[in-house]
Amino acid sequence: MLGKDLLGIKQLTAEEISGILDLAGEMKKVVLSEDKKLDTLKGLSVVTLFYENSTRTRLSFELASKYMSSSSANITASGSSVQKGESLLDTGHTIDRMGTDVIIMRHQCSGAAAFLAKNVRASVINAGDGMNEHPTQALLDALTIKEHKGGFKGLKAAIIGDVLHSRVARSNLYLLQKMGAEVCLAGPVTLMPKDIERFGVKTYNNVDKAVEGADVIINLRIQLERQKSALFPTVREYSSVFGLNERRLALAAPDALVMHPGPVNRGVEMNSAVIDCGQSFIDEQVTNGVSVRMAVLDLLTRGKRNAVN
């Protein structure tokens, strides 16, 4: 059982993470079956509130809640009163007062999920807040790693790319460290946040060094929309110095997993040969996304459901 909200990996213990992953493994069977219907969330309502565009996160939350029989609804900033200048606080209160049990929010500001959670009765799931955290992404990555590597202890994971702007990098870093993996980061120094080494990670500007012997490679999307100034000269130079290609992949452990949170900028952070190779689990990550989100929805609503029964 989790607390009221899932705001970040930072707030979870290793036991809680393991619990989510175990349940997600069970949920995956439902996702892959011909009978995708559980009664778990019957009678509960789930709202997704997205201030930023999304394909996979939003859709997988939506399907996860539908597979579990909730009443679900979706709002996006572009089609709501947010356009009329309504504050997050007022939007949150409005959704809360419609009897919503779970609000799943993506927002461009770090800390927005924590802010919402403090001000609503509903459980809040952070589906990505600014550059802070994207906990369900890290959990689905973890499920993928667990399935193929059996566990985390002693694994070497390399997170590569735009670490500065990446909530995925932060959530993955916290999760992998909590589960006992060794994490290193690589990317241009202009895309590396200050003092990140204080988390106990090695950082490299040379991708080859980070990839060498890695069991897991998590490549990050170059977030051109979050970049306020030109932090690297050209996409061409980025892909040649920092992009993952066959030569670099060959430096990793022979059975290394290649992952990416999507959407991929093909030919920028990774070339198509790597994206489509046998070591790439990008598509499987998407399947695991639904499973993990089902597990999280189940665990977060248990308190509430127990109280009712």
Partner: protein, 420 residues
């Protein structure tokens, strides 16, 4: 006539640090000494309390005209009085901007009507605070402006700053520089470093402040003219000012209580009452700011009192406005965090909150001296109290110290001989 009996007078400039009486006539200090008496005088018993020169805060935002929903001259000067201030200098980032005689006169007239403390308006350096054309400084001076500043925004162009420093000097107007090199900001919302990284917030490097501090010190040095650096927050800024002073540059500076009492960790879980500009820094910076207060690098302690409505703070951290209020906690924070731990004496603290700013602004104030206006602050430095923002006089409540136990309770101020 007012006779203040048995207060512990504290005024470093005039060597006062003993229990004595003050006799006030016609709003001015008439006599200072032990065992004074005067027939028919109203007597204020200050036994067990300290009597200091009226405190002066040379950096506040009163928000009036234009943003009266945050603060106005009445609420702001009431807050000042409650905090022990008999004078404040207010920044020009009002609406309209205080870049013309009419706004300056309005502020002075309104403050006189309210009568809680003296208000010295600071005019803008540039028209509309746009950083382009200089304001009519002769006119502003004659209307009553005591200094010029574009506070809240940097003067981006070094050339404009150089001309401002030269032009303002003709009228004896100090130039107060808000130091921020915008090209280094990159959307930063808190101090750059581990805390920002772990919260996923964009960082503000100390270089943002220090690059501009060095620019203005260098300009002042080459012109042989004064410049006053507003709200220094970093170790590097303190060192730049210290070195400048050693070289004989006419540079002065101020800092705020939050820069010697709080670190970036106060942001905690995205607390918008810990969001300000310059941002809260690290313990190393706090220690360096205290050192700079001790060794005289810092000339004045100011609040940068920046009231904001709750709706401007109850937001996502990145969207919340910068700044905190400070008038009602400044003296107690100085006593609790600087005097009680032994960093400086009470006399030093009072000096940096009265005579120090008076000297920079060229005011005949900040001293307990016969012939001077009887502006005084009566307080008990040993009395403990818990900060309660709900009882503040300020219209706004954006204060990170709510609930904190502090020493130093202000009893009254005396303004031109009248007990407030």
């Amino acid at each position: 006539m007012l006779l203040i009996k048995n207060g512990h007078l504290i005024d470093k400039l005039n060597g006062l640090d003993a229990v004595m009486d003050i006799l006030v006539k016609d709003g001015k200090i008439a006599e200072i000494g032990a065992g004074l008496s005067a027939d028919g005088a109203e007597v204020y018993d200050a036994a067990g309390k300290y009597v200091a020169p009226g405190l002066i805060d040379m950096h506040v935002h009163l928000r009036d005209p234009g943003y009266e929903y945050k603060e106005d001259i009445e609420s702001g000067t009431r807050a000042a009085q409650k905090g022990g201030f008999t004078a404040v200098a207010c920044m020009p980032n009002t609406n309209p901007v205080a870049d013309n005689k009419a706004v300056i006169k309005y502020i002075i007239d309104r403050a006189r009507e309210v009568g809680m403390c003296k208000v010295y308006p600071i005019a803008a350096i540039t028209k509309g605070m746009k950083g382009e054309e200089l304001t009519e400084m002769a006119d502003l001076r004659s209307a009553g402006a005591v200094a010029v500043s574009d506070d809240g925004k940097p003067v981006r162009s070094g050339g404009v700053m150089q001309r401002a420093i030269k032009y303002a000097s003709m009228f004896g107007l100090p130039v107060i520089s808000h130091c921020e090199e915008m090209s280094l900001m990159d959307g930063g919302v808190m101090n750059e470093g581990f805390t920002a990284t772990s919260l996923g917030l964009r960082g503000i490097s100390p270089a943002v402040e220090e690059v501009m501090v060095s620019r203005d010190i260098i300009i002042a040095e080459h012109e042989g003219l004064p410049v006053h650096i507003a709200h220094i927050s970093t170790r590097g800024s303190a060192e730049l000012v210290r070195q400048g002073k050693r070289r004989g540059v006419k540079v002065t500076c101020e800092t705020c209580p939050h820069y010697f009492t709080l670190t970036e960790e106060a942001v905690g879980d995205f607390d918008t009452n810990a969001k300000m500009n310059p941002p809260l820094r690290t313990q190393e910076d706090v220690d360096a700011i205290i050192e700079a207060i001790k060794d005289g690098t810092v000339d004045a302690i100011v609040t940068d009192h920046a009231p904001h409505h709750i709706d401007e703070k109850r937001l996502e951290f990145e969207l919340a406005l910068n700044g905190i209020i400070g008038l009602e906690t400044s003296l107690p924070l100085g006593i609790t965090k600087l005097v009680r731990p032994g960093h400086i004496t009470l006399g030093d603290l009072i000096y940096k909150m009265s005579a120090g700013p008076a000297k920079i602004l060229g005011l005949e104030a900040g001293e307990i001296k016969v012939g001077r206006a009887a502006d005084l602050t009566i307080f008990d430095p040993d009395e403990k109290f818990a900060v309660d923002v709900s009882k503040f006089q300020s219209k706004s409540k954006n204060c990170p110290y709510d609930g904190m136990e502090l020493y130093g309770k202000v009893y009254n101020t005396v303004l031109d001989g009248v007990v407030k």
